[in-house]
């Protein structure tokens, strides 16, 4: 029992990195996604094109490759990042690309009549987006966003590949040291717990936003 507590404590320490990475990515990737989506639906051709390339590249190549690129690749051209910085930036930009597409599709699914109603009532573009379109978009993008939120928990384990001591890596260290399978089981349980919390949070959000159904 003591052994399990010990190992759990050690793995929990590793999970700190996972949590930090998760939080930073969740907040900034969502923000990036909102602005990316607004840019994609804008009439500015140049921005459309840039964002098109952005989502194409970051959704079309492996996250692990992007991670390697940021950590091992960039130093070659003189940009050296700390492992955690490299990981966080990569995750934000990668997930931002997915959120851009999810939010764009969400915004575009809102009926044209909503824009027209807002326009004839005298609202400007910002008021229309903030008060009318985006609140309705939130409800529609909750399910796909929930998927991404769970993916992010699992993808965070990739940072072990650039030497960050996250939850999974902490478990693996103990497995190698003690030659026992227990740490992996503990790690699996932790991932399940985190995912369950996220699923619950999103279920509550969906409930909250279903009042106007």
């Amino acid at each position: 029992m003591d052994y399990i507590l010990n190992v759990t404590g050690y793995i929990l320490e590793g999970s700190l990195i996972t949590f930090k990475l998760y939080l930073a990515t969740a907040v900034f990737a969502v923000l990036l996604g909102i602005f990316g989506a607004l840019g994609k639906i804008s009439n500015i051709k140049f921005i459309n094109k840039v964002l098109e390339i952005y989502t194409w590249v970051f959704r079309g190549t492996p996250l692990l490759l992007q991670l390697f690129f940021a950590y091992y690749g960039l130093p070659i051209i003189g940009i050296t990042l700390q492992p955690f910085t490299a990981a966080t930036l990569t995750f934000i930009v990668n997930y931002g690309a997915y959120f851009t597409e999810i939010f764009r599709a969400g915004i575009e699914s809102i009926d044209k009549g909503q824009y027209e109603a807002a326009q004839v009532l005298g609202m400007n573009y910002r008021q229309t987006m903030v008060r009318i379109i985006l609140p309705q978009t939130i409800k529609r993008v909750l399910p796909p966003t929930s998927n991404e939120a769970i993916n992010l928990v699992k993808d965070s384990a990739l940072v072990a590949a650039i030497g960050l001591g996250d939850l999974l890596r902490a478990a693996k260290v103990v497995v190698t040291r003690d030659f026992t399978i227990t740490p992996f089981i503990i790690a699996a349980i932790m991932y399940l717990l985190i995912s369950s919390v996220i699923v619950t949070v999103f279920r509550q959000l969906e409930k909250k936003y279903s009042v106007y159904e």
Binding site: D111, G113, Q114, E116, A117, A118, Q119, V120, L121, G122, M123, Q127, R131, I132, P135, Q136, K139, V211, Y212, E213
Partner: protein, 239 residues
């Protein structure tokens, strides 16, 4: 005073000429019904007046202001009611009325609430003020939409087939509200297929066909002895 002056309006969608040389004027307090076969440009005409579509040529003067040049200030003198209601589904009935005046006119919230509740009473829906639009019938939705437009205190109301997507038994309640507005001498243009309503309420009836106003006449003239063959055909089909 002339509320709306349209001068030689032309509008084209791709290769389709939807409005061709439309000219008319609407006086203060007049109720105009716009009738005609589908595809004749009725809805497009209203949408051009309020700036939802850009005209290709011509001039729109709203209460003396060149609408295209002036923009918002001219368009805001008009309110519009759509065939598909276009209520904001994530806002309650009362919020639907309040959101625009609050953002656009920066009205005092308490006064605005009172005013909005008064408008809801006027359309007979004060008991629904805290429900979401999804809980309303089509007729109720359209009455809310009318109240929402009125909340911005427009001088002119444009109705784009306000009863066309309603079940027949719900048409009456919406027409009754519009009729009430007509009696209050709000300037209105109503695109409609309700001939009884057009005949009873309007001061003038525009018959549109192929992007033109074919006739601009009193209800009696057009319904009792239509001169144009085209109108006779249309009325026979619809009545």
């Amino acid at each position: 005073m002339k509320m709306i002056e349209a001068n030689k309006l032309f509008k084209k969608f791709a290769d389709l000429q939807v409005l061709r040389d439309v000219t008319f004027a609407v006086e203060q307090g007049e109720v105009i019904s716009v009738i005609g076969p589908s595809g004749s440009g009725k809805s497009t005409l209203l949408r051009c007046l309020i700036g939802l579509e850009k005209i290709n040529d011509g001039k729109i003067i709203i209460e003396g202001l060149d609408a295209v040049k002036t923009g918002k200030k001219a368009y805001r003198k008009m309110g519009m009611v759509f065939q598909g209601f276009n209520l904001f589904p994530h806002k309650t009935v009362l919020e639907n009325l309040m959101v625009a005046p609050m953002l656009v006119n920066k009205n005092n919230k308490n006064e605005l609430r009172k005013k909005s509740e008064k408008l809801l009473s006027k359309v007979g829906l004060i008991d629904k003020k805290d429900v979401y639009p999804s809980k309303l019938s089509g007729g109720q939705k359209q009455r809310v939409a009318i109240a929402r437009a009125l909340a911005m205190e427009p001088d002119i109301m444009l109705f784009d087939e306000p009863t066309s997507s309603l079940d027949p038994e719900l048409v009456g309640e919406v027409l009754a509200v519009i009729k009430k507005l007509a009696e209050e001498k709000i300037t209105m243009m109503v695109v409609t297929h309700e001939m009884g309503f057009a005949r009873e309420v309007s001061d003038r009836v525009f018959f549109m066909d192929e992007g033109k106003i074919l006739t601009d006449s009193t209800p009696d003239e057009i319904f009792l002895n239509p001169e144009e063959e085209r109108i006779k055909l249309f009325l026979n089909k619809i009545l």
